[in-house]
């Protein structure tokens, strides 16, 4: 085995171009487990943690760019205002030790359907900037997940950063597990209100082969909110509509039975979480302006 530590991004891309089999390493919270248990023996470990630009994050117009080696701890400490759902999801990752090492880009690289960041990225709106020696491209996060532990990276590509839209309204993330720490999600839901476009986005993790947006449920709720003039009045959506929304979110899932929970339980729990995140997000909305208030 070789252990390579490029000092620059250019050097990292050159290594990956010459050795597509090289496995990128950041926090090690997934990869080192596989090596410790001898499930995987990469020929080359490509440690990216010395590349300065991957350790940086910065605000961009309407978004926050998170370098591939930025740990969850930083998302929690520094980005909770701009990226509330992602920060909430980050707080549920593993333990303090894991959050000091694990990264959002690592979640994307592993592409486990249970990764905590995924629903938050999908609900907020995000794109993944990937690069190779051939050039850079941007992949909408919806198109990044191809299957369980499969993603849209070409063999010579590395994740450079994740660009997440800055919240324009309340966001919520909720996850079911057997305790608060060290839990792989049984299922998880994120929901974001986007008052600027008067839309709602919601996404589910651990309840299908990939993380997914429940677009049918989003369209239904967006329609309900427009029809009832809820954005202007601030009135919550009618309970029957909220319940229907939750059913549609659950219906978008195709969960499996496994050691963490049955498919039926997951569908049920997703429905509960969808309703809960909607209620919490709507309650957190700022009061509507007087001109939008009912006469």
């Amino acid at each position: 085995m070789e252990f390579l530590r490029p000092a620059t991004w250019r050097e990292a891309l050159a290594v990956k171009a010459a050795h597509p089999e090289a496995v990128p390493l950041a926090g090690g919270t997934d990869l080192m487990v596989e090596i410790n248990f001898d499930r995987r023996r990469p020929e080359i470990l490509l440690d990216l943690t010395r590349v300065p630009e991957l350790r940086a994050w910065r605000a961009e117009p309407g978004a926050v760019r998170i370098g591939a080696c930025v740990p969850y701890r930083t998302v929690i400490d520094r980005m909770a205002a701009e990226l509330p759902a992602l920060a909430q999801a980050a707080r549920t990752v593993g333990s303090p030790q894991i959050r000091n090492r694990g990264t959002v880009a690592g979640n994307l690289g592993s592409a486990s359907p249970a990764g905590d960041a995924h629903p938050a990225l999908l609900a907020a709106g995000a794109r993944v900037e990937v690069a190779s020696a051939r050039g850079t491209r941007t992949v909408p996060v919806e198109e990044f997940y191809l299957g369980p532990k499969r993603n849209a990276l070409a063999p010579d590509e590395l994740i450079h950063s994740v660009v997440v839209q800055r919240a324009t309204g309340p966001q919520q993330f909720a996850k079911v597990g057997s305790r608060n720490a060290m839990v792989i999600a049984v299922c998880a839901v994120a929901l974001a209100l986007h008052p600027d476009t008067r839309t709602v986005r919601t996404a589910v993790g651990s309840a299908a082969p990939t993380p997914l947006r429940a677009t049918g449920a989003e369209e239904f709720l967006t329609g309900v909110l427009a029809e009832g003039d809820h954005w202007a009045t601030g009135r919550p959506p009618p309970p029957a509509a909220a319940a229907r929304f939750a059913e549609l979110v659950a219906a978008a899932c195709s969960p499996i039975d496994d050691v963490r929970g049955s498919a039926d339980y997951r569908r049920h729990a997703v429905r509960v979480l969808a309703r809960r995140t909607l209620d919490r997000a709507w309650r957190a909305r700022p009061r509507p302006t007087p001109e939008g208030a009912p006469a």
């Binding site: 085995m1 070789e2 252990f3 530590r5 390493l25 926090g27 090690g28 919270t29 080192m32 487990v33 090596i35 410790n36 248990f37 023996r41 990469p42 470990l45 440690d47 943690t49 701890r73 593993g94 333990s95 303090p96 030790q97 894991i98 000091n100 090492r101 608060n180 720490a181 060290m182």
Partner: protein, 169 residues
């Protein structure tokens, strides 16, 4: 490969380190520091918890090469040169927070990091900070007592040269 790092303030190196090896293996098997314990090897139990450049990490998930040039703090660095226990270690002993002792090194490192960051932690802070460290003996109550005791003593003796939980960081 050869690995050079600083452990508990002392520069050290190890030869013939396998590239896929963890920092935990290096500490225990190559540097003769078995205080950090090896249990789950997947970041679930916290018994291998160390500080890596000040950050609390599971040593089993850090590739050895990632610790090149780093400062590592392990439980072996806590007691004084003559073996006198640090205030936090003493609090663990006094409150009966140690039974089999396997989880203790990791819990000490996690508690020390908490007290450095939040000298007067509430119970929720303590629980959150120790959430990544499993103990199968004590039921945790005595461990919480130990952290509360160490925090209250540090508050009473803020000038104790040995009392700052981070005195040699």
């Amino acid at each position: 490969m050869r690995l050079t790092l600083t452990v508990n303030g002392r520069p050290t190196s190890a030869d013939h380190v396998w590239e896929g090896e963890s920092l935990l293996y290096v500490l225990r098997e190559r540097l003769g520091l078995p205080g950090s314990k090896n249990a789950c090897e997947q970041g679930e139990c916290g018994s291998c918890t160390v500080r890596l450049d000040g950050e609390l990490v599971c040593a089993c998930l850090v590739a050895a090469g990632q610790a090149e040039g780093a400062e590592v703090r392990t439980v072996e660095g806590m007691a004084g040169p003559d073996g006198e226990l640090s205030p936090l270690q003493a609090a663990f002993v006094e409150t009966g927070a140690v039974q089999c002792g396997f989880c203790t090194p990791g819990l000490l490192l996690a508690a020390e990091e908490l007290l450095a960051r939040a000298p007067h932690p509430g119970d929720a802070d303590i629980r959150e900070a120790l959430a990544g460290n499993l103990c199968r003996c004590t039921g945790y109550e005595n461990i919480l007592d130990a952290v509360r005791l160490a925090a209250s003593r540090a508050a009473q003796a803020p000038t104790d040269p040995n009392g700052g939980p981070d005195h040699d960081r």
